[in-house]
């Protein structure tokens, strides 16, 4: 009974991870498509968008923000792909492998990268808001916060889990030759 509960939980986790992986990949692609649009708008090619305060104030910053958002979403897609692989190995009953330890380490680095890019985006947004000078700094579209320490906590937990999985893989290796 407990096992079937665990299995359904893993199946649910895998479905959610798959949805998030593809969702992030699609939105990352859309943001990537926005980069040339913002570039064209900054050169006055697109009349409607060229009047945008943010783009005309600092085209490079606007392009950088859109590009970094695409990078963040691509990293998150990669992150959820690795999570899917770990959940799949757990479903097969063999989660303690060196590959999973490596995946967790990569997930930690990816999340750290995402967090650092988020901080950069917040800084750029503030820079843009300062240029526009409309008091729009508090009007956050994406709701990023510089003081969000939760993400750093997740990074630390992921690194610890990676170490635990590495130990688990070593212990499992010992068990293989035990009769």
């Amino acid at each position: 009974m407990t096992e079937s509960h665990k299995d359904s939980l893993l199946m649910f986790g895998q479905t959610v991870a798959r949805l998030l992986q593809w969702g992030c990949a699609i939105v990352a692609g859309l943001f990537l498509l926005l980069v040339p649009v913002v570039l064209l708008a900054s050169r006055g090619v697109l009349p409607g968008l060229s009047e945008s305060d943010a783009i005309s104030a600092s085209p490079i910053s606007a392009v950088a923000i859109v590009g970094m958002l695409a990078l963040i979403l691509a990293a998150l897609s990669h992150f959820f792909g690795k999570l899917r692989a770990i959940v799949a190995s757990a479903s097969e009953g063999d989660p303690f492998t060196p590959e999973n330890a490596k995946r967790l380490t990569q997930m930690a680095w990816l999340f750290l990268g995402v967090k650092l890019l988020t901080v950069l985006i917040v800084a750029l947004r503030r820079h843009l808001a300062g240029l526009i000078d409309q008091g729009a700094a508090g009007d956050s579209v994406l709701g990023f916060s510089l003081y969000d320490l939760d993400a750093f906590l997740i990074v630390v937990v992921l690194f610890i889990l990676a170490r635990i999985f590495r130990h688990g893989a070593d212990m499992r290796d010992d068990l293989v030759g035990t009769v």
Binding site: D174, V176, G177, T178, V179
Partner: protein, 75 residues
């Protein structure tokens, strides 16, 4: 500091014991509740470790002591 035991090995005398008891590996596997594959690993000396429960079951079925089954040998 532990002594370097490279060049020494543990010899598993399961084949000799089975021969003396006129018992097959399959029969022993059935009696001790191990798979034939695992018992073969032990017999051929490819096992990394042996559980006390396995050792106890083999000694019980072959009417022997652990020392009859495992021998330390310097190369």
């Amino acid at each position: 500091m532990p002594a370097d035991d490279e060049g020494a090995s543990i010899i598993v005398k399961l084949d000799d014991l089975l021969h003396a008891r006129r018992m097959t590996l399959t029969e022993l596997a059935d009696r001790v509740g191990l798979t034939l594959a695992n018992l073969s690993i032990l017999k051929t000396g490819k096992a990394k470790a042996i559980r006390f429960s396995t050792l106890r079951a083999i000694c019980r079925e072959l009417q022997c002591q652990p020392g009859d089954l495992l021998i330390y040998e310097e190369d």
